[in-house]
Symmetry: C2
Subunit: 585 residues, 2 copies
């Protein structure tokens, strides 16, 4: 088929040219004997004018018909500034109806009003919307930029199996029954973790893969059963080396995909400091308003609420928002109260406002003048400031103030637009105590290296051991996590012991993988970057389905093909399985 130009690329400078275009009819308007058609292809839309000499030929044409049009580009009498090609139009000389279309069951336009489920059912039509096509192209650009950068740094992309071994604890593993070996199963990997570490053992030194991962999630709004990870692992490096690679990678992606220049080196904060300042390990650094701990000010307080919190090892934390006092009425603050009580189990939210040099608010009367003065100094209070205070167990104070900080950040419009604030959070705790299992468990995974200086606490005080795990956070989203791995067998055995795993049990769970460590394992570490999350940030969307070509719903259904679906009895026979439980309709 002849085609000389892409519709969206035509400009005033093309005026006078004869062009042949193809595309879908976005819109058709009759003006007496003249017909206007907006013709859409992947590049964009251009207006075609069919005058009385030819309009008869497009009489039957409707939305989503496919046309091939030959004509002359000419300047429009009244330009349409909303269209990229709005200065020009194409006066048709010849037209071929390439294919017909029934009436589409959804509205195909960027401001579509069709509900999401219907659009998911007709995903192939919804994908005709410019915004979704641009998102898919952006995703492609991100992958190209990532591959080119990593390739240029000597990383080799290696495909690891999707049909893999099931692990005993793989409750989130998708299983695949074997036809040849009835009674046995493959599992779809949640990440290429084991394979990439094996590739380090095999001496590939620098590996990456834009890898499909699978996780049979419970129903959550922002997850898909399959997702993609920019997976990286390297040998003979440390945090500095790996962070350097990732920083150059991010800079390349942001520069090439959205022309944004990132800062040269990203901020690093240890986990404990991050929690103290932001109440979360995923802080949004696009605004300040960090948490201030007030324990020192109130160490001798007679205010009973604070007194009892301090006496039971709790903390008193405060957030200050400048010029916010007038924006939160009593009712507004009540909503914040509910928010922290119901969402974060905080017992109460105290608040203060400074007006005309005086503090008022829920606890103003309970505090001594000295305490108020100290508070004012510590927080550098000025007229119009709003202070939110929570006194409780550290965990509750941090999570509720962390959430309040983000909430008010949005409500007060404190968040800078088009700004990308990256942050490395390092030194995550090696273990967390599982009340359920009544033992220490690995926070990341049991192959993560502890910090060398903390190895001595492995048994005496596991909660004190920091690991060499790290996250990269962008604008409040966790973009990746990773770690330096253990490469020393003795240390690995100690870590297993610390989480109450005997070597026999470890062997049973990780078998061949542990064996591999015996034959010369290099120091290594890496990261896994959530591709969808990254593209979402770049595309400026909060909906993961906007950056996935054929997504499932929140409830893990593919509405387009109606999957998962019931299969023939005969297919199950071949696999040697039968259905014992059926929770379908």
């Amino acid at each position: 088929m002849k085609r000389t130009h892409e519709n969206g690329t035509l400009h005033a400078c093309d005026a006078g040219k004869e062009v042949t275009l193809v595309g879908w009819v976005q819109k058709r308007r009759n003006l007496g004997s003249i017909v206007f058609v907006d013709l859409r292809d992947r590049s964009g839309v251009v207006q075609i004018t069919f005058d009385e000499t030819i309009s008869e030929k497009v009489k039957e044409v409707r939305s989503e018909f496919i046309l091939q049009v030959t004509g002359t580009v000419q300047m429009r009498k009244d330009a349409n500034p909303k269209m990229a090609t709005g200065e020009i139009e194409v006066l048709a000389k010849d037209v071929v109806i390439v294919n017909r279309a029934e009436t589409a069951p959804i509205t195909i336009s960027d401001d579509t009003d069709t509900n999401e489920d219907t659009r998911l059912k007709y995903r192939y039509l919804d994908l005709r919307r410019h915004v979704l096509q641009q998102n898919l192209i952006l995703r492609h650009r991100v992958c190209m930029a990532a591959r080119n950068l990593l390739d240029s740094e000597g990383f080799v992309e290696i495909e690891t199996p999707i049909l893999a071994r099931s692990t005993p604890e793989g409750a989130r593993d998708y299983l695949v029954p074997s036809r040849i070996y009835n009674g046995k199963f493959w599992a779809l990997p949640q990440s290429p973790q084991i394979y990439k570490q094996l590739l380090m053992i095999s001496g590939m030194e620098k590996y990456f893969q834009i890898a499909r991962c699978f996780r049979d999630e419970d129903l959550r709004s922002d997850r898909q059963p399959e997702f993609t990870q920019i997976d990286i692992e390297m040998s003979f490096g440390d945090e500095d080396t790996i962070f350097g690679v990732v920083e150059r990678l991010m800079k390349a992606i942001f520069r090439e995909c959205i022309s944004a220049e990132l800062e040269d080196t990203f901020v690093r904060i240890p986990y404990s400091e991050c929690m103290r300042l932001y109440g979360t390990d995923k802080p949004d650094l696009r605004f300040g308003n960090t948490i201030t701990e007030l324990n020192d000010i109130f160490k001798d307080t007679e205010f009973q609420v604070f007194r009892s919190v301090l006496d039971t090892d709790g903390i008193i934390g405060a957030l200050k928002f400048s010029e916010a006092a007038s924006k939160y009425s009593r009712k507004g603050i009540d909503k914040l109260q509910d928010f922290v009580k119901h969402g974060f189990k905080a017992k109460a939210l105290a608040w203060l406002k400074q007006e005309n040099g005086t503090l008022s608010g829920s606890i103003a009367k309970a505090l001594s003048d000295a305490e108020k003065a100290a508070l004012s100094e510590k927080l550098s209070l000025a007229d119009g400031d709003l202070v939110l205070i929570i006194a409780d167990q550290a965990k509750i104070v941090r999570s509720s103030l962390g959430a309040l900080r983000v909430r008010l950040g949005h409500e007060l419009d404190l968040i800078e637009k088009d700004v990308y604030k990256f942050l490395w959070v390092t030194d995550f705790p090696m273990f967390e105590y599982s009340e359920e299992e009544n033992r220490w468990v690995a926070s990341h995974h049991p192959f993560t290296a502890p910090k060398e200086e903390d190895v001595r606490y492995l048994f005496s005080d596991p909660g004190r051991v920091s690991s060499r795990a790290y996250d990269l956070v962008l604008n409040g989203y966790e973009l990746l996590s990773g770690s330096i791995r253990i490469h020393d067998q003795d240390l690995q055995e100690k870590v297993f012991e610390a989480i109450g795993l005997t070597m026999e049990e470890a062997q049973e769970r990780f078998g061949f993988f542990l064996q591999a460590f015996r034959y010369g394992t290099p120091p290594h570490g890496g990261v896994g970057i959530g591709l969808e999350r990254l593209v979402m940030v770049l595309a400026g969307t909060d909906n993961i389905r906007d950056v996935v070509a054929f997504p499932t719903t929140n409830s893990s259904l593919d509405l387009m093909s109606d999957a998962p679906n019931v299969v023939d009895r005969a297919q199950l026979d071949i696999l040697g399985i039968e259905i014992t439980k059926n929770n379908n309709d």
Copy 2:
């Protein structure tokens, strides 16, 4: 860890430099108090010399230990021409043992003598061999070259689902039970075919994906349960457009990966001519020796064997091999007899040799002088020529002569080395008759377009209809297949009718996919290129496991992780399935 150079990159010009290297001990030799170590990293191997001042430190070092060595590059007294770095060595000043290694259970060297199963079990060690690492790097280079070329031509890589809908005939589909919807299943796609056609319907125009595909194969030597396809689809093009993309793609890959320059345009042969000349649709064009049909010469023959073949619509086909007469004794020809009889059901193999202007051989006495003269002229026979003749049904003649051609091509060393002969085979038959099902079935898939001029035979003579399906053949291997698809609903219904499918049945099988065609489907077509096959040709290996990081055995077992494996009863309970048949040990 400090590291200034990669081991394999050191050259004479580095002499005098102080370097810090890391790597695995490939070999260790003691020469009294001097110790030589070949230190290997991904880039190659270099010799380190530990003199008496330092050799004590490497006393305990054995093969596969990891060392970090600082020293000075110096010229060797006697260069080792077999090593890329053989002109130089590094005189060690300092050494750190980074990690220890137990004795490896396989021989880690390119000429390893360990059997393949053991090497597959310890794949992470086998992957330390230079040749395998180079293959993985080559595979990466191929993918980079493919992506860069396709990207530069406006193709967008789009990830399509791996958890997909099962099709009723999917006996080769891997099924995945759903945990959330017990009783329902996902299927792993054998190719992204349906998704890529939907992307054309959605107007993405130019799609590609280096896509993982899954096929639950019966046990065959050259297949893996999962494999990778360079999958391409485009709208508004025809065969010329698509072939052009693929030809530029191949040229880019061969140039960038193995510095080979391919011809500008690849030869095209219609299927029927290909079968006539080569007896196969995957001919190796690196040598000639095409099949000559002799029916016209023998149309009036009285030689009973030929007579009866011609009277029953059979054909007489011949291969000529110059200067081969002396290389095939009676016994040698007997082997060829057995080959065509047992392998291809040929009733007999006739042969002739020309010596001193005279024809001798199995049928020499049965032919008339005129027939011999005509034969000699037709085949341009010369002294020393060997002629192999089979008279039988066309199918048998072609398959057996096609196979004989390849066999003698190898035996007589007729195949040019380091030559890449590409060939488009076009116009494949649209249908083939299934004796089993007693009906015509689609040769490619039922969405393949028939040739326009053959549409009139759809019902009257289905066997006569050629399709717009094509293969690209390289050196006798099928590298890709593809087709122009049907985009017209009426034609699609006719094709279903021709294979005896009612619209109801079609709806049941292809449902949502057929519906998608109603809303404005562009003309489109594409290809799927077998990545492993392509890399095998580039790497010069016949073993698919040489180009896959973690392959399975011929019997679909992952010996390294021992998968597929038995899973916990509890995991199956969650999935709502149980095992009914168990063919494990």
